[in-house]
Symmetry: C2
Subunit: 410 residues, 2 copies
């Protein structure tokens, strides 16, 4: 708990820590002494005097510990190493892992993590663990995916345990959008007391909600699946089982499909459906929209309005202060999305008379999920005490994360 | 906390209480002695021996305290008195209050509460307070409605404070659907560790979600406004500001409108639009549907499918174990709704492979909101310690309720 207060404050005196935590001054002194001995905290100059001698400030030692975030997307794997402050110190990405069977893909991911740690010169003993994040549904405690995507072999495969075995590091599995959401909190980008949501758009669309610094979990951590809520009760069936799902109207593949259906547009924008990389095509449409190409602009605006409809639903149900837009599919035309989603939310949210809902871009941009995965490890390992609520048992965020952290076989 | 464990267990020994709470045996003995001295708890026979002498059981004394629930609906006001166990001991209802200006309506409500307490022979000193519940949006802390419905005079009017002044009792304001949701928990109708939602249908449609015994609040307690999420992104504008709102497709007034649009149906069912009581008309359509009248059945089934679509959205976002259907508009055709909403949820919910979502009727039926309002007072007054999380400050459920409980001017 003390460590979390130091993280949140960036630099803080022992007196301020006692006031913030409610602990006594001798207890704070003792805890801080231990944190300094462990290398987690360092003294960092003096603060402003409040009458007597200016107090010594303490802050996190960002180089004391590291964690790894691995985002397994349908067509891309991103790996980041972050320090204790959640800052990215190394990054790599490669294609193709998720299209292999898991017993080939996971050793490949492990080799890339090893290589990145070596390149970055990060001491393995200082690595707290790996946050492996991907789309849902998942059995987070078992560390398995509950979806036959991309191939049937991934369904129920012990992804967290196998990666832990390959790496010799604890691995926790979590949802990519939930990870992206908690990343914002750890980086100090949102008021720590706010209730905020994250819309994460990569190949698909996911969501996460954070309440006072903890991911909203629900029954099984398969919450905020905003890509598969219906925005049209009479819409087409989706492979997920629902119909009229947001993803099929607003997502990158839907926008590319809509573009290809417009005569002449594919040629004007240089789209090539044979290439098979719809994220690259989507980025071309986004760039053309930014440049003012009317048809491209209309397509991105329509996607943004659909996303706005779902954002209003999310705000109406979770009563949000802030909606963060995160992920690679906001990289090109993010400003158009931000502006139109904000308009929809301002105009249509039920409780708009009670308080505004701000729509903002993620501070972690395209890599928000991978960075968030690494942050979930930091949060789980370092602030367990502050967040574990014993009466929630296995449903508690930190407690579950700790259980889900598969230990490597020795 | 001890009191909440006794409530949840119905009858429990001191040894079991120590195990459940983690407190020491002497502390439990002392707390139970105080609760008995206050009359809140009574001894109630002996339990099963685990070797030695069978232990003495303690249970709540349901007659020790009472609370009042007042539900202010657009065309009906329901008042209930419940005992400490959440059981209804008296009830009254009357029409017309919400169509008056608030400075006439609230003294009328106060007079009805006074009359009901007198009729039921409940000692005023034993009444903990009044839970006033209605639709949103609301400023719960200020005790005001943030909607110009039914008339502009209600917007921002200090309803909680004025009722408290009239009655000489603390009054807290809350959302009707959130109240209905927490009522299920207090009555022991759901697993206390589950995450469940409530869809509340009266003249409108509202929602509430409870996570491990606490109402999900979000930023301002204006959460789960399921009646005003869009189920058709291209649908008609709603007075709320959104478009394609669930309420305009599935709600009682929508079903009556659809019935009147079918040639001959109004006459066959004996509907009379001139009567102006669309809840009575809706009940007639529900009764005809139950009796197998094909057009009426088709209308109710369509309403249930629309509701099912929103229930799937709610389950996908909150990751629910259970959805409770509550409120007077499920009184007649509730079984049809339950069956079809269950079908939709089974077929379409994203995380259905992770766990099932059960759809069940409320144990409190039509009066769920009023009873829930009274339960919110019990929870706020009696289990404050267990639920208040100081770091949440004013956003914490119990803490806010306590602040919002306007004290009468003396």
């Amino acid at each position: 708990m003390v460590l979390d207060h130091i993280r949140a404050a960036r630099a803080i005196s022992r007196v301020e820590l006692a006031a913030a935590t409610g602990l006594t001054a001798p207890t704070i002194s003792e805890v801080v002494r231990e944190l300094i001995a462990d290398g987690l905290v360092v003294e960092a100059g003096r603060g402003v005097s409040t009458g007597g001698k200016p107090p010594v400030l303490v802050q996190l030692n960002p180089h004391a510990r590291y964690s790894v975030g691995v985002q397994l997307e349908r067509n891309m794997c991103v790996i980041v190493i972050v320090d204790l402050a959640g800052r990215q110190v190394a990054r790599t990405s490669f294609r193709g892992a998720a299209s292999m069977p898991p017993d080939r893909a996971l050793p490949l991911v492990a080799a890339q993590v090893d290589a990145l740690l070596a390149t970055a010169g990060v001491d393995r003993d200082k690595v707290l663990g790996v946050g492996l994040v991907g789309y849902g549904p998942q059995d987070r405690r078992a560390g398995t995916l509950l979806t036959p995507q991309p191939t049937q072999e991934w369904f129920g495969y012990p992804v967290a345990r196998r990666l832990a075995e390959s790496l010799g590091l604890p691995v926790l599995l979590d949802n990519d959008a939930a990870a992206a959401a908690i990343g914002e909190y750890w980086m100090g980008a949102v008021d720590p007391r706010s209730t905020y949501g994250c819309i994460y758009m990569a190949t698909g669309i996911g969501g996460g909600v954070v309440v006072a610094g903890e991911v909203y979990r629900g029954s099984s951590s398969n919450s905020v699946e905003i890509g598969h809520i219906s925005i049209d009760v009479n819409g087409d069936d989706c492979p997920c089982g629902n119909r009229g799902c947001l993803e099929n109207y607003a997502g990158p593949s839907a926008v590319v499909r809509q573009a290809l259906a417009e005569p002449g547009l594919a040629q004007r924008l240089g789209l090539d459906p044979a290439e098979g990389d719809f994220l690259a095509e989507f980025a071309r449409i986004g760039a053309a929209a930014n440049a003012g190409e009317p048809s491209a602009r209309a397509l991105i605006e329509r996607s943004a309005r659909y996303l706005g409809c779902a954002a209003v639903t999310m705000a109406c149900l979770f009563d949000l202060d802030v909606i963060v837009l995160a992920g690679p599919s906001f990289a090109v035309a993010g400003a158009i999305y931000q502006s139109l989603v904000q308009q929809e939310v301002d105009r249509r949210t039920f409780a708009r008379r009670a308080h505004p809902v701000r729509v903002v871009p993620s501070v972690s941009g395209s890599d928000a999920a991978a960075i968030g995965g690494a942050v979930l490890v930091l949060q789980s390992e370092l602030t367990l005490g502050a967040h574990a609520r014993p009466e929630d048992g296995a449903r508690s965020d930190a407690a579950t994360a700790s259980q889900a952290a598969a230990q490597p076989a020795e």
